[in-house]
Amino acid sequence: MNLLQVRDLETHFFTADGVVRAVDGISFDLAAGETLGIVGESGCGKSVTALSILRLIAPETGRIVGGSIAFNGRELTTLSTAAMRELRGNKIAMIFQEPMTSLNPVLTIGTQIAESVVRHLGLSWPAARDRAHEMLELVRIADARRRLAEYPHQLSGGMRQRVMIAIALCCNPQVLIADEPTTALDVTIQAQILDLMLELKEKLGTAIILITHDLGVVAETCERVIVMYAGRMAEQAPVAELFARPLHPYTRGLLRALPRADDEVASAGTRPMLAEIPGIVPALTRPIAGCAFAPRCDYVVERCRATAPALLQADAAHLVACWEAQRVAETAA
């Protein structure tokens, strides 16, 4: 059985300009210990999908309007607030994008890690502090004993993100949702943090949902990738397959827009222009008839504008939402 099973998830926001269909029917599975990447450009619904799983959508603005989220066979969309709170941080943990502001400036690092341990594992405060110490060593923060008593402003961005990881993993969650965990960090620290996450995943057996807009990060870390566009799934495939044989025109566009180090060698000194995907993401306030990507697509045909493509099983683990996937595959070859 899958650890996490999301089916036809729809999360809408109710704004003055109308209903924003931030997540418009997403389905995916997550197996225990797996690393799943969700990629897409800003505003495509990646983060909202993650927040929906934890039911963290502010009720004043938005709501999960349809679909189901099953965790270990337990339906999360209808779970009581109290039961949901038991899961959060305990079975499903989350790391946010901003390590600079995700730690409370007035509490010590030790308190912030120990708090979750006391809350979910029922340990006493001294025992929880020992656990916090252990976690800081696990995320390789030097001089952990001293760091426990320090405040967030005394730590660098990379160290804060390590602390965030320590907080997220201190209760041995089964799922870790990492929402752009490295976006705010510089490149060398990014690599360290990603390596650390993967290493801890191996050690603790945590499944990871990694949300990012960085295909390089996906290639390095994930086993399976979901490409999202305008709140819908465009393509889903094992990572090697996606990079080798992208079947959705949007995925192809994204891959083409990736700067490559070996391009420069080929063109002898002159840097080639980066390919871009023309146009912008459609407004999500109006229902989109047909394929959401149609206005920007090179392969568009009449049928694309009329009816939204169903998910096509191109391969055992390769799903694509494109009527013209066959033609895309042929031109790519």
Partner: protein, 292 residues
């Protein structure tokens, strides 16, 4: 001397006294406020040791100008203005500190709840706006006509319109802290509402709350003096700065000291409290990002 040795010596060289010296030089306003207030507090506590009985009347010595015997002169009943001023500080300080402490506690509780639970917010904040519209002086006069004049009633009367001012400050901090990623992160970690409020949000409100408390304290002292002056404050026989000024009013032209001296004390006290508040505000402002 090697570089490492110099670095090692640095923290050791900063003795507590030297560090105090640095703190004083960096925060002249706080230092001034604290020194003046401490002096006043010491003065009121030690009053019986050096001041004469503020109630003793000696008609033979009435309206004497300041002299070696009566430092600040005497009033129309021959009472020593110096000892009355010294004892009068008790009323001002008690009212100021009591109102500041109570308004902070009540305001903190209401502000936290209002800022965090949006449904309560609408109703309670409109009530707070209503209370803020009541002038303290009128409320105090009304309360005192209903009951007997006394220190407690004065404190309550000043306290009621001050509470909403604290609530507004606390609520605005809670609203901004609520939107911080670390609060979202704590929610994602399964923290309960009460824990979230007490452990994550409350400590963030303390700095602005302390600053606001000093302003409330200063304004409470002024209102108390105003009430006593109008005869709606503490009973007239109790020496308070407002009472002394009110009673000396008729004799202002022949005995101005009985008004000017308590007036100067009142001004100095309020100044001290305000300087402390301003200093703390500069020090605690998170945008300046300096450590206390």
């Amino acid at each position: 001397m090697t570089l490492s040795a110099t670095l090692d010596d640095l923290p050791a060289a900063a003795s507590p006294l030297a560090r105090l010296g640095v703190a004083v030089r960096r925060n002249p306003t706080i230092t001034f406020g604290v020194l003046l207030l401490s002096a006043l507090v010491l003065m009121t506590i030690a009053a019986p040791l050096f001041a004469a009985d503020p109630f003793r009347q000696a008609p033979i010595n009435r309206l004497r100008p300041p002299s070696e015997r009566f430092w600040f002169g005497t009033d129309q009943f021959g009472r020593d203005v110096f000892s009355r001023t010294v004892y009068g500080a008790r009323v001002s300080l008690i009212v100021g500190f009591a109102v500041a402490a109570l308004a902070s506690l009540i305001g903190l509780a209401i502000g936290l709840v209002c800022g965090y639970f949006r449904r309560v917010d609408g109703i309670v904040m409109r009530a707070m706006d209503g209370i803020m519209a009541i002038p303290s002086i009128l409320l105090a006069i009304a309360l005192i006509t209903l009951t007997r004049p006394g220190l407690g009633i004065v404190i309550v009367a000043i306290l009621i319109p001050e509470v909403p001012r604290v609530v507004r400050v606390v609520r605005s901090v809670v609203l901004s802290v609520r939107a911080q990623p670390y609060v979202e992160s704590a929610i994602a970690g399964g923290t309960r509402n009460t824990k979230l409020l007490v452990r994550h949000i409350l400590p963030n409100t303390l700095a602005p709350l302390i600053v606001q408390a000093t302003y409330v304290c200063a304004s409470a002292m002024l209102i108390e003096a105003g009430l006593s002056f109008l005869g709606a404050g503490v009973p007239p026989e109790i020496p308070s700065w407002g009472n002394i000024i009110a009673q000396g009013r008729t004799f202002f032209q022949i005995a101005p000291w009985s008004i000017l001296i308590p007036g100067a004390f009142l001004a100095a006290t309020v100044l001290a409290v305000n300087m402390l508040g301003d200093g703390l505000r500069d020090r605690l402002d998170p945008r300046l990002a300096r450590r206390l």
